[in-house]
């Protein structure tokens, strides 16, 4: 059961990832990215990371994908501009070869990793569990994160305003 689910989600995310980087139309890429993100959310759920599962859906699949799709529509890329965005297959091939070699190298190292069968305590990864850490040892970092978000909002507003 778990294995079947894992391979389905893994297959979806890899195929989606390939569509993201080879898609001609950015909208196709964005939707494929949404698929990948939802698949990864599913993997989070399998890793009993409840909070991450929902946050992934909320922030990534919900907010970021919608933002990207919005921007794609605002940019109004017509067929002419999309035509200029063809993939340079030469460059793509060289990069792909480098990535493939690196990927295989790392995967060989990964092969030895086992485990994951050990049961975790019932409340693992729940909101209470994570927030106990978030508001305990990581409080300062969490507050800084809030600050970064604020700066990000202000930055985005300033950038968007100045352009117009």
């Amino acid at each position: 059961m778990d294995a079947v689910l894992f391979w389905i989600l893994a297959g979806l995310s890899v195929v989606g990832g390939l569509v993201v980087i080879t898609g001609r139309n950015p909208l196709a890429s964005a939707l494929a990215l949404g698929l990948v993100l939802i698949a990864i959310a599913g993997l989070f759920a399998m890793l009993s990371a409840h909070l991450l599962f929902i946050l992934q859906l909320l922030v990534y699949a919900g907010a970021i994908i919608v933002l990207i799709v919005f921007v794609i529509m605002l940019l109004d890329l017509d067929d002419r501009r999309l035509g200029e965005m063809k993939i340079r297959w030469g460059r793509f091939g060289v990069s792909a070869a480098i990535c493939l070699v690196a990927c295989v190298a790392v995967l060989r190292g990964v092969r030895g990793l086992t485990g994951l069968r050990e049961p975790v305590h019932a409340s693992f990864g729940t909101v209470t569990d994570v927030s106990r850490l978030l508001f305990g040892p990581y409080l300062v970092q969490f507050e800084i994160l809030g600050l970064i978000l604020l700066v990000g909002i202000l930055g985005a507003v300033v950038l968007a305003k100045r352009g117009g």
């Binding site: 890899v14 993201v20 990371a49 990534y60 940019l75 793509f92 790392v106 990964v110 990864g125 978000l149």
Partner: protein
Amino acid sequence: MGEVTLGHYIGLSVVLFFIGALGVLSRKNALIVLMSIELMLNAANLAFAAFARRWGQVDGHVVVIFVIAIAAVEAAIGLAILVGIFRNRQTVDLDDMTALNE
């Protein structure tokens, strides 16, 4: 199918990371580069969550939350910059953005 171990998750994470890296390296469309970066961040998130599960400690989840938040900020700022560039230069092609080079 066999049993799913930590290696499977990390392997998937590695594959996704390199797919993202390939996108960043080979594409010129700034939007797709941005999406590839999101892909790489997600691969890292997956590894964090898998290790957290393996060692039974939720610290990994905290890091993932940080990454998600940073990714949101990055997407917002990146897209805002992109819209700004598009307004001025009518293109989102990274190879055309060579103003400092000339």
